[in-house]
């Protein structure tokens, strides 16, 4: 009992955010329920992003009804690779990644050969809500297939690593690189066993990581060190993330981005309830940083100023960046 109180005090001193605090002080306070569809439906997110001039993987087409499945050939034309996703899918389920064409058939990333009929069946499943939350009818989204930048080759196992930045009212708070592992089946989801690696907001150099709630410094599959890697085009990521506040209107979000080897940073999706393990990856509590941003917001409000995305990025980088390297 006494030990628990000590743990409590220590965590509070470090500014570690718990689920209750996240929900009460940030998610409930800054995220209006009516705006959730913007982040829950990937098609709406994409449309909004395109309007705002924010980079996203190019959308080839949408299939909304069973009749429209026939239009699939029209949508994919003679593209060699593409991705089919449920618009409201969760946890990466129902996503079909076609890497190549082969004699009138298709080849998935894992090397399996499937026919056109099988793809149509998959789309039909998506439409009936097989993969959507709550089993409601859904839409299928056909989009550009992201090719991860080769920089991640040494510290990633299959799949596409992505970068998450938590953004409070347009100010980047904390960043993390998520690397798929053999255990996570190539998915970049921390709950499924992917590793999270902290990223210095100012420089874009990776710090140490977290894997299943533990601190780590090497990738479990490749055994390469995960820290000290310079992410290319880091300021691009930061600006992209900061601009998402204007895009969706939600004040507290996790922005998931990828680094395409041709198109650079792209926004994949937004999350209205970003997880808390990013704190372990960065070895820092969220609360200290969010309080600093909230104080800044108060100050600006008193003076009647609104900062642009660039200014917000600079503020965050100056205040939270340049983390001293650990021993």
């Amino acid at each position: 009992m006494f030990g628990l109180i000590k743990t409590w005090k220590a965590l509070e001193a470090k500014g570690i955010m718990g689920i209750n605090r996240r929900n009460a002080d940030y998610v409930l306070k800054y995220n209006k329920r009516s705006l959730y569809p913007i982040v829950d439906d990937k098609i709406i997110t994409k449309e909004r992003a395109v309007e705002a001039g924010i980079h996203v993987p190019e959308m080839y087409g949408i299939i909304e009804t069973e009749q429209e499945i026939g239009k699939l050939r029209e949508i994919i034309k003679d593209r060699q690779d593409f991705v089919i996703k449920p618009a409201q899918g969760a946890g990466g389920d129902g996503i079909l990644v076609i890497a190549d064409r082969f004699e009138g058939r298709y080849k998935t990333v894992s090397g399996r050969i499937i026919s056109h009929d099988e793809i149509e069946h998959q789309i039909s499943n998506i439409l009936t809500g097989l993969y959507s939350l709550g089993g409601l009818r859904d839409r299928a989204l056909i989009e550009y297939r992201v090719t991860p930048d080769p920089i991640f080759k040494s510290i990633s196992y299959e799949g596409v690593p992505d970068i998450r930045i938590i953004v409070l009212m347009g100010y980047p708070v904390m960043a993390m690189l998520r690397l798929p592992t053999r255990q996570s089946n190539g998915k970049a989801n921390l709950h499924q066993g992917a590793i999270g690696v902290g990223v210095d907001l100012a420089t874009g150099i990776t710090l140490r990581g977290t894997w299943l709630n533990n601190k780590i410094s090497k990738h479990p599959d490749t055994t390469n060190a995960v820290d000290g890697v310079q992410l290319p085009n880091w300021d691009g990521f930061m600006k992209l993330a900061a601009g998402c506040y204007e895009l969706c209107g939600l004040g507290y979000i996790g922005v998931d981005m990828v680094l395409d080897q041709d198109k650079g940073p792209l926004i994949l999706e937004l999350n209205a309830r970003p997880g808390l393990n990013i704190q372990i990856a960065n070895d820092t509590g969220l609360t200290l940083r969010t309080h600093a941003i909230e104080a800044r917001l108060e100050e600006l409000k008193a003076r009647g100023i609104q900062e642009t995305a660039d200014e917000r990025v600079r503020f965050s980088q100056e205040l939270f960046g340049h983390v001293p390297p650990r021993d």
């Binding site: 743990t7 509070e12 689920i19 209750n20 009460a24 946890g91 097989l130 372990i280």
Partner: protein
């Protein structure tokens, strides 16, 4: 800091105050018992009237019965008499029963039975009585003796109250010559009361005789004489034997006035015998009985006012908030993950029908089998609705098979699965399989165990009889719960499991 806004604080305070206030009012003012085991005294008074009827003459027996406008409530009153007509009339604040018969012969026995309790009296009626009376005329030596007695009484008293008790004390002093003269050699209580009345009448203080019965388990007793006088505001009661003031709580006024208890026409050798017996009765049941027999209605607007079958439903329903509270605490304070928010409460309700141990086994077995079917159906790539229908049908068949087997094995428990748990089972299987797909088997297992723990705890709490009684009787307690839930809505501290989840931070 910003934990609670003023608005929320006031709301919580209001709810808690209201909850505590109403409950306190019910307990302390209405006197509703706090536990179901609380009992109250119930008095059973039998008055047995015996006389010998004169032949060829109509019989008319009149007897006073308690007026019942005091702190006692009659639950049942009966007149047991063969071939006698019974009528009751009220005279001067007394109640009198009249038994009458055209013809009777030989030894007659009539019974009057009264069941009463001290609790739950209705509003007290405003007392009214005379405050002045004319003197009783006295002659010769008696007059002188009375006046000789009165002057020290006047000196030693300040008001009506002290005057009366002083007078009673003087009359009870057997060594006083004046008293001896007035008593005329008869020192019975009745005679002393007569002398007291004379003394008081000279001072124009009215006095009334009160005949009382003591509520004790003594076998046989006769009514005891007390005196009372109205002081303009309330009645003051005095014991004529020693001047003690105030009627003891266990004394029941049977009748007032100078008339005898019993008056018999057409009979002789009449006598009355009182027998009292005491029994204990469940207090809340007694309160309900009281409600039915009087105009008191403190239970009228409680859940006890509902029909009995509805009451039973509400006894289950009113406990749901307790179950919800358990889930709230387990999820937000402890951090146990459960399936959905209130599925555990529904499972806890289902445990009512299956009992806890058997319910857990049944749920585990059926859910495990249902999940394996669900994962098999996954390979067939079925749509959601058909898939759900198959799972539901499978659950029904499974339950039927289990019931059949357990019946053949002589375990009647297996038959206890009703409609309600079946739907919950299907829902549980569906949601658990979704969790399995989204978050993996380990997580699904964790959630399933958390759900069972939460459901068991909720079930246990929801079925503590004392708690059920308390909340059913004092539903305003729920307002206090709402206050707590509102406060929890702004709780931002860590969950217990987070202390372990973030342990990595403390390893430096």
């Amino acid at each position: 800091m910003r934990a609670l806004t003023l608005h929320l604080k006031i709301l919580i305070l209001l709810l808690v105050a209201l909850g505590v206030g109403i409950t306190a009012y019910q307990i302390f003012v209405l006197g509703i018992p706090v536990t179901a085991d609380e009992t109250d005294d119930l008095w059973n008074i039998d008055a047995k009237v015996e006389f010998v009827a004169s032949p060829r003459e109509p019989v008319k027996v009149q007897m006073f019965v308690p007026p019942l406008n005091q702190e006692f409530v009659s639950l049942n009153e009966s007149f047991i008499s063969n071939n006698y007509g019974v009528s009751i009339n009220r005279v001067d604040g007394n109640r009198r029963v009249t038994w009458s018969a055209r013809r009777a012969s030989g030894r007659q026995t009539l019974y009057y039975r009264l069941v009463l309790t001290k609790r739950y009296s209705g509003e007290q009626t405003k007392a009214e009585g005379p405050i002045f009376r004319d003197s009783i005329p006295l002659e010769g030596p008696e007059k002188i003796a009375a006046e000789a007695l009165l002057s020290p009484i006047r000196q030693h008293s300040a008001d009506v109250e002290t005057f009366i008790s002083e007078a009673i004390k003087r009359v009870n002093n057997a060594n006083d010559d004046n008293v001896r003269l007035l008593l005329g050699g008869d020192a019975s209580i009745a005679n002393r009361a007569r002398v007291i009345e004379i003394l008081l009448s000279i001072a124009h203080v009215p006095m009334e005789r009160v005949h009382t019965i003591q509520l004790t388990d003594e076998q046989i007793q006769t009514p005891e004489l007390w005196l009372r006088s109205f002081n303009g505001d309330r009645w003051l009661y005095f014991n004529p034997a020693n001047g003690d003031q105030g009627l003891p709580a266990d004394r029941l006024v049977w009748w007032t006035g100078d008339e005898p208890l019993l008056a018999v026409e057409g009979g002789k050798d009449a006598r009355v015998e009182f027998t009292l017996s005491n029994s204990e009765m469940n207090a809340i049941r007694l309160a309900q009985l009281t409600d039915e027999n009087t105009e008191a209605d403190f239970l009228e607007y409680s859940l006890y006012g509902l029909p009995l079958s509805t009451q039973q439903t509400y006894q289950i329903m009113i406990m749901i908030p307790i179950g919800v509270l358990v889930i709230l605490i387990l999820r937000n304070l402890v951090g146990i993950q459960t399936l959905g928010t209130f599925t555990p409460v529904l499972i806890a309700l289902a445990f009512r029908e299956t009992q806890l141990g058997f319910g857990i086994v049944l749920f585990t077995v059926i859910t495990a089998l249902g999940l394996s079917l669900r994962s098999y159906l996954e390979h067939l790539k079925l749509q959601m609705l058909p898939r759900l229908s198959v799972v539901l049908t499978f659950v029904v068949v499974l339950i039927a098979v289990i019931s059949l087997f357990s019946h053949k094995l002589g375990l009647e428990r297996g038959l206890s699965v009703a409609l309600f748990p079946m739907v919950i089972l299907t829902m549980t299987i569906e949601r658990l399989s979704i969790t399995w797909e989204e978050r993996g088997g380990g997580h699904a297992f964790k959630v399933a165990v958390g759900t069972i723990i939460a459901a068991s705890l909720a079930h246990v709490l929801m079925n503590i009889p004392e708690l059920v009684y308390f909340i059913f009787t004092f539903p305003s307690v729920l307002l206090i719960l709402v206050g707590f839930m509102l406060a929890m809505g702004r709780y931002r501290g860590y969950r217990l499991t987070e202390l372990f989840r973030f342990k990595a931070f403390l390893k430096d």
